[in-house]
């Protein structure tokens, strides 16, 4: 093993012993396991009540989301003061005068925060196995959802460690990390909804209804075509905002299983469908002529067809997240480098 990796390993072990391995931490994991257990049981009962034959799929998606939710709530608290907290405690400078490099320090702290967040995923594994068996979920779907979840937790950990190196006050950097998580998780949804609703286009609908019917109920004669205009929201302009949402990203990335009619079987698939439908622009001119035998549902597509012909935005979102995460770490590196040329106002090296 190279000296660089050994150095990172020492920092990771130091971080885990100093920050993480406390009684409070084990209590937190215990509470988390209890919550996941309760959610699993309640979902089983609730979905069983609907007579759903595939409650396992829904439970699986729900647990993954739950781990993502709790992981993104806990990771900022664990990572958001990794560097400036050490500076406040007077242990950063004494580490920096040793032979450990700034990159080893930052990557070690990032890995420790990531490993800590992954502990939640590990604690949820028994429930995931149960749900996967119950729902007959494909190996690929399990692999992709766990992998994307793990990456997302790493992104939050990296942003937290990065901000703790960029901002000088621990409380502030933890708060900003939470704000970044909130902006990605909730802010993107708000931006999508408000954006779509504020930009509207007119749809021109031409309709011609029958004025008389034959004895068999077939339209015989139709009136003059009538034209009406009405506005529709343009979510298709804003779907790109949603790719940066970790929940959407996760749902979009996981391969979907379909029923025979082409409907998704799990929560992820339904969210994916909703997001993909938002990509489709509305029809700006609709024509309906009852005498020509038109049907309102002439252009019906199955969810599967919609998902298959729209753009998988998840990997764009993933790239955005990875750029954010590595950018935060690089910025933190440049702010933590020694010998320091510039210091933030009001901060000191040691």
């Amino acid at each position: 093993m190279s000296a660089f990796l050994v150095g990172i390993g020492v920092i990771v072990s130091l971080e885990l012993r100093q920050r993480v391995r406390t009684v409070a931490w084990y209590v937190l994991i215990g509470v988390f396991v209890a919550l996941v257990a309760i959610v699993t049981v309640l979902l089983k009962i609730a979905l069983g009540g609907f007579g759903a034959d595939n409650s396992g799929g829904a439970i699986f998606s729900a647990i993954i989301y739950f781990v993502l939710l709790l992981g993104t709530l806990v990771a900022p608290a664990l990572s958001g003061n990794a560097i400036n907290g050490d500076r406040d405690a007077g242990t950063l400078a004494t580490t920096q005068v040793t032979l450990v490099t700034t990159w080893q320090l930052i990557l070690g702290k990032f890995l420790a925060a990531w490993v800590t967040a992954l502990a939640f995923l590990a604690a949820a594994i028994p429930f995931l196995i149960y749900a996967a068996l119950e729902g007959g979920i494909s190996g690929t779907a399990i692999l992709v959802s766990v992998l994307v979840l793990a990456i997302e937790l790493g992104v939050v950990a990296a942003i937290g460690v990065g901000l703790s190196g960029i901002l000088s006050r621990p409380l502030f950097s933890v708060a900003v990390t939470y704000l970044v998580v909130a902006a990605l998780s909730v802010g993107t949804l708000i931006a999508f909804a408000l954006g779509g609703l504020s930009v509207q286009s007119d749809v021109r609908a031409t309709t011609s209804y029958a004025t008389s019917y034959s004895s068999t109920g077939q339209p015989e004669q139709c009136g003059a075509p009538q034209t009406t205009n009405y506005p529709v929201p343009r979510f298709d302009y804003f779907w790109g905002v949603l790719v940066a949402n970790p929940y959407v990203l996760l749902a979009d990335a996981v391969p979907t299983a379909y029923e025979a009619e082409g409907y998704p079987t799990d929560l992820f698939g339904n969210i994916k469908l909703g997001v993909r439908q938002a990509q489709l622009p509305p029809d700006f001119t609709t024509n309906y002529d009852e005498c020509a035998g038109d049907s309102f549902q002439a252009a019906f597509e199955t969810p599967r067809e919609i998902i298959d012909r729209t753009t998988p935005g998840w990997f764009v979102g993933l790239i955005i997240h990875l750029v954010l995460a590595s950018g935060a770490l690089v910025w933190a590196w440049s702010r933590t480098r020694t010998p320091a040329a510039q210091l933030a106002r009001g901060s000191r090296v040691a």
Binding site: A3, V6, G7, V10, I11, S13, L14, R17, Q18, R19, R21, T22, D86, A89, G90, T91, L92, A93, T94, T95, Q96, V97, T98, L99, V100, T101, T338, P339, A340, A341, L343, R345, V349, A350
Partner: protein, 313 residues
């Protein structure tokens, strides 16, 4: 080893300055600390001592000037400097959840020691600074003085050739101060360079071979140090026959106005050591029973006060 060689193995600072925004913490620092000696870094609060220490410790980049530590420039080759430099900061930080032993072991590991040597070195250092009883307690239970000892042990983990100690004696009890002094002298005796900053000048007087005076970010020149040392200085004289002593002093040409009485001693301003020897000889020859005849303040304090007085407009 010639003087220039031993200086190169120690600390060389030439024209170093460093500002934080508008504040010029260090403006012109120039000094050398030779290997095998203990050098005191003396200056009032806010004179730039800690900033200078941070630049020497390879944590802060000087705006101008040049530093070498054991022959290496900390801005050019920080790793080479760090492997030869031990730094005990003025801020007492420790990994609160770790024990004293594992703190030292982790520090050793950060200096790229393997597990066995780090563990061995940790045990040695715990014995050296006298923390055996607390070796397996978490560092958060340590008192201020015990944290000072741990901090000193941490600075010695990799057996550095150059040791920077920033206020090492604050918070130590008298016994621990004596131990610190013995330790520092021993380290210097091994041919290493020690730079100590302290407010307790009497203590530095006993430890340091030479001193660097820093005021407003500027190191005092040799000339102004000599001038400050040459100035008039108070001596204290104690005698069982107080009235006889005053009479004899009056006879030696010191008027009543020149004398002050303090805690049963007579204080008298003298211009030089020669003047002091002459006066003592006169008093003894005159049959005055003298039990104490010494400078009222130490050499360093005298210089420090003299420089400060010179600084005032």
């Amino acid at each position: 080893m010639t003087t220039s060689e031993s200086a190169a193995a120690g600390i060389v600072v030439e024209g170093v300055s460093r500002a934080f925004g508008e504040v010029k913490a260090v403006r012109a620092a120039t000094f050398t600390a030779a290997a095998g000696t203990v050098t005191g870094l003396i200056g009032p609060n806010g004179s730039g001592k800690t900033t200078l220490m941070l630049m020497l410790a390879s944590l802060l980049k000087p705006d101008a000037g040049h530093i070498t530590i054991a022959g290496f420039d900390p801005t050019v080759d920080p790793a080479a400097v760090r492997s030869r430099l031990g730094w005990m900061p003025d801020v007492l930080g420790s990994w609160s959840a770790l024990t004293v032993r594992s703190t030292l072991e982790y520090t050793g590991r950060l200096y790229r020691q393997d597990r066995q040597s780090a563990a061995r070195r940790a045990s040695e250092l715990i014995d050296l600074v006298g923390l055996e009883a607390l070796a397996d307690s978490p560092t958060r239970v340590l008192s201020r003085g015990q944290k000072q000892k741990l901090s000193l042990a941490r600075a010695l983990v990799h057996d550095p050739a150059v040791l920077l100690l920033d206020e090492p004696a604050s918070g130590l009890d008298p016994a621990a101060r004596v131990e610190l002094r013995t330790l520092v002298r021993r380290v210097a005796g091994e041919g290493k360079t020690v730079l100590i900053s302290s407010h307790v000048l009497a203590e530095l007087d006993e430890m340091a071979d030479s001193a660097v005076y820093l005021a407003n970010g500027v190191t005092a020149s040799k000339e102004s140090v000599a001038r400050a040392q040459a100035g008039v200085r108070a001596w204290r004289i104690k005698s069982s026959d107080d009235a006889g002593l005053v009479r004899a002093l009056n006879g030696a040409g010191f008027g009543v106005d020149a004398l002050t009485h303090e805690r049963g001693e007579v204080m008298i301003p003298l211009g030089s050591e020669t003047e002091a020897s002459t006066l003592l000889a006169t008093l003894v020859a005159g049959g005055v029973p003298i039990s104490t005849f010494a400078p009222a303040v130490g050499d360093l304090e005298q210089t420090f006060l003299g420089l400060n007085a010179e600084d005032q407009p």
